[in-house]
Amino acid sequence: MKFKYLLSALCLFIAPPAMAQTWQETLDAARGQTVYWHAWGGDPRTNSYIDWVNEQMQARFGVTVAQVPLTDTAEAVTRVLSERAAGQDTGGAVDLIWINGPNFLAMKEQDLLFGPFVSRLPNARFVDLSPDAPASVDFTVPVEGMESPWRLAKFVFIHDSARVPNPPRTMADLLDWARANEGRFTHPDPSNFMGASFLKQALISLVDDPAALQRPVTEADYDALTAPLWAWYDALRPLMWRGGETFPENESIQARLMNDGEIDITMSFDPSYAAAAIGLGLLPDTARVFVPEGGTLGNISFVAIPYNAAHPEAAQVVADFLLSPEAQAHMQNIDNLGAFSVLDPARLDAEAAAFFADLPQSPALPDLADLGPTLLEPHASWMTAISEDWAARYAR
């Protein structure tokens, strides 16, 4: 035991503080390291994109990327927490996490993160990092360089155009449509990110004062602001699939219900999902994307490095590679992953823009213009508040 403490004390002296390194030193230190990237494993296309990243990283930087597939990102957070509980402040099992709002907030509040590191990534120059830019605010929580963006998410609905030629354009229309088509609409369980996002999207569309949602729930009149949402939802719920008693676990399961013909509308946080899923045989060929009037929620997926990561240098090199125009274009290609790029088109030089020039098209792939305005995510506390309220109201 004593020997172990001595060893870790020695390590503290040997390992230079990462922040003082030049990028070249980081690259040198990263060579030969393996990055354990904890990332939700439910999407085979994301998994194979991570495999591609691994191949590229091995060839270019001598870094191995091993995905640790999670069913829920919180597993990685719990892991880091239990390591800190055990006093394991170096050499942790998690090097990199694909992370979203509430998990980021939890880790940031508990000081479980490494960084700030984003501004030292060479490819961060292609990203708009000004204070109000989407890449600087994660669910209204300031990023402050503690996580690096890698893919864009924007809420869209997907309908089967063969069965629903004219999809509803507002939340009120959706209710009318559900009246005419009982049992053909549902949403993922609100304990899931996508299900809670659907409630948030409805809240933003129905609320009188959207700006109030930018502040924490505790500073707002919650009951008054959410009253229109629950009135609308009470009317909608009995008209839904299974009478609103049961909900699909997540959006992939819901897409499967649509593929099975059990429902007519699904939703995604990935505008190219319909095109990609058709190609994979996971949605009918007639699936198309639509967005409600007034725009939809949008946010960015990030990667973060835990404070006790065993390989923080290699993790940074991976985060930087994920931001490279080549990797971003490969990701945006619907033949590969089809997730929209986080790079700012205005910041791309000719060489970088060339990667995006000839990406394949598909009838189910919307143009950016079709997607309408991007609405700011409410403060992260809203998501927790409305999904808990939903559970209290409907989970009996």
Partner: protein, 553 residues
């Protein structure tokens, strides 16, 4: 074995099999009372329990778990009795059913979920003749009452109980009882109820309790087949453990403790039920009424129907693994493809699973043989070793074990996972080896001893060859148990050990039945192949020894 050696074996077995469970329960109990230094919490408080009780749907979830666990166990028991009571020579049938034991719960559940869904296979077959344009909006899976979950549990537990009953029946003079009962004018169902069951039940009581405890705390099957608003209690606790809000961690531990209490409560309910049945049964017995009771044919066919559904569930998995598109309402896939088998991803998971299963079965076998040699003739000493790991819900102690392991500086990885698997593999192997071991004919050993063979030689030259068949079967079942482990692989492997099961569950949340089909068929096929090997190995080795082939014991 000498006394000192015996105590040492007992100590080792206790440390390996019981230590982690007791330690994990202790950590869970402490954390549930607010003592969890990781979150800077050190004061005793009931706050986690209060927070747990405020979770929406908590009472409904508990009631759901109790109901599904009890109902599924009772029906499985009834079906198993129906089956063994009508099967002639059920001892011979048991080996045919054993493969069912080896197929993991999650594989059956994944297949069944498609088989019975409103847009599932059964509905697709009848969609054309009944002209169904869209699938009916009926809650056939994930139904609020938990009927699909009950069906899944029945499919899995009935064969297990049949095997256990068949083994126990061989200890009873069944034919004599039937003959005497008939000559006294009782009908066959009456003889079973009055004479055979009262003798059979005490022999199979522990496995019945295992089935009940399992049904109450199962996570993977409940995720796939059970309702989700609210889910069963074990799933709810699992969700609390993985919630992003770290403040929910201590209520999750409280849930783990409550899960243990729920099982104790259900076992108590079972004991009350036993007493009641015994009381009223005696009263009926005293009246001595002879009555011709004929069990209707459909009821007699139910066990076979249930097992047929199990078979078709596995068939669903295989079919989906070679499908590209299978839209409603086609009765068979419209586009076939081997693409998913050609991708290399499943091969790594298969290698990892085989390695872990091989290692944990080998180590468990050594441990089990040591325990049997030390305590083989005193069943009482074996009981806690076998039944504690199978009765205590995994969620009650695994997270605690993980914290404790990290605290003493043991990094998670393959080693921890193998240990975690031994916790469950070894008890099953002991369960299967216990009776054959006790049945080793003593005269053979005495002969060997009088011919000058020492204890080692007696062990290797007499006992092991005699026990080859039971050992092979136990190893095959242990293999299946290891392949099926989800929570131990996930928690003790630090998420880095990607086995067939962890990958399958992660991919199942992705909703692509075709990939799930690949992993699910592998999960079913590997234990089946292991079982086939267990069947063939003794036959090959003893191809020139007829008596050994047929089994002395």
């Amino acid at each position: 074995m000498g006394r000192a050696a015996r105590i040492m074996v007992w100590g080792c077995a206790g440390a390996i099999l019981l230590g982690p469970i007791l330690l994990g329960l202790w950590v869970s109990l402490r954390a549930s009372l607010g003592v969890f230094p990781a979150l800077g919490s050190v004061d005793l408080t009931l706050a986690p329990y209060r927070a747990l009780m405020e979770t929406p749907g908590i009472w409904a979830a508990m009631w759901l778990s109790l109901r599904t666990g009890l109902v599924a166990s009772l029906i499985s028991f009834g079906l198993a009795v129906t089956f063994v009571a009508q099967a002639r020579g059920s001892r011979l049938l048991a080996p045919l059913l054993a493969p069912f034991l080896a197929i993991p719960h999650a594989a059956i559940a994944l297949g069944l979920a498609f088989l019975i869904a409103p847009s599932g296979w059964i509905m697709r077959v009848i969609a054309l003749p009944f002209d169904l344009q869209t699938p009916p909006d009926w809650p056939l899976v994930n139904d609020p009452a938990g009927l699909a979950l009950i069906l899944g549990l029945i499919i899995k537990e009935t064969p297990f109980l049949i095997i256990v009953m068949a083994a126990a029946l061989s200890q009873l003079p069944l034919t004599r009882h039937l003959r005497i009962g008939a000559s006294l004018g009782y009908s066959r169902p009456q003889i079973w109820a009055y004479v055979i069951l009262p003798q059979l039940y005490p022999l199979i009581r522990p496995p019945v309790m295992v089935v009940l405890a399992y049904g109450l705390s199962v996570v993977d099957m409940a995720l796939i087949l059970g309702p989700n608003t609210p889910p069963s209690f074990a799933v709810m606790v699992m969700r609390l453990f993985s919630a992003p809000d770290l403040a929910l961690l201590m209520p999750a531990f409280a849930g783990a403790v409550v899960q243990v209490v729920l099982i104790l409560f259900a076992l108590l309910a079972l004991i009350v039920l036993e007493r009641l049945l015994a009381h009223f049964g005696r009263a009926a017995l005293r009246r001595g009424i002879r009555r011709t009771i004929t069990v209707p044919q459909p009821v007699m066919a139910l066990p076979r129907l249930v097992m047929g559904m199990g078979l078709f569930s596995i068939l669903c998995l295989g079919l989906w693994s070679i499908t590209w598109r299978w839209p409603w309402p086609a009765p068979l896939p419209t586009t076939w493809s081997m693409r998913l088998w050609q991708s290399a991803e499943w091969q790594d998971a298969l290698r990892v699973s085989l390695g872990i299963a091989g290692a944990s079965v080998a180590l468990s076998l050594i441990l089990a043989l040591l325990i049997l040699e030390a305590h083989g003739r005193t069943a009482r000493a074996l009981t806690p070793l076998i039944y504690l790991p199978l009765l205590v819900p995994q969620i009650g102690f695994l997270f605690g074990v993980n914290s404790a392991l990290l605290n003493i500086g043991v990094a998670s990885g393959v080693g921890g996972v193998i240990w975690g698997h031994i916790l469950f593999v070894c008890p099953y192997m002991l369960l299967l080896l216990m009776d054959p071991w006790r049945a080793i004919p003593r005269p053979l050993l005495h002969c060997a001893a009088s011919l000058g063979a020492g204890p080692w030689r007696r062990f290797f030259a007499v006992k092991l060859p005699l026990m080859l068949r039971p050992i092979c079967i136990a190893a095959a079942v242990g293999f299946g148990v290891s392949i099926a482990q989800y929570l131990p692989t996930l928690f003790l492997g630090g998420g880095r050990v990607a086995s067939l099961t962890t990958e399958a569950v992660a991919l199942a949340s992705g909703g692509d039945r075709r990939i799930t089909g690949v992993y699910g068929s592998l999960k079913a096929a590997v234990p089946l192949l292991a079982y086939l090997a267990a069947f063939l190995i003794p036959r090959t080795i003893w191809r020139n020894r007829r008596a050994m082939r047929e089994g002395v014991v």
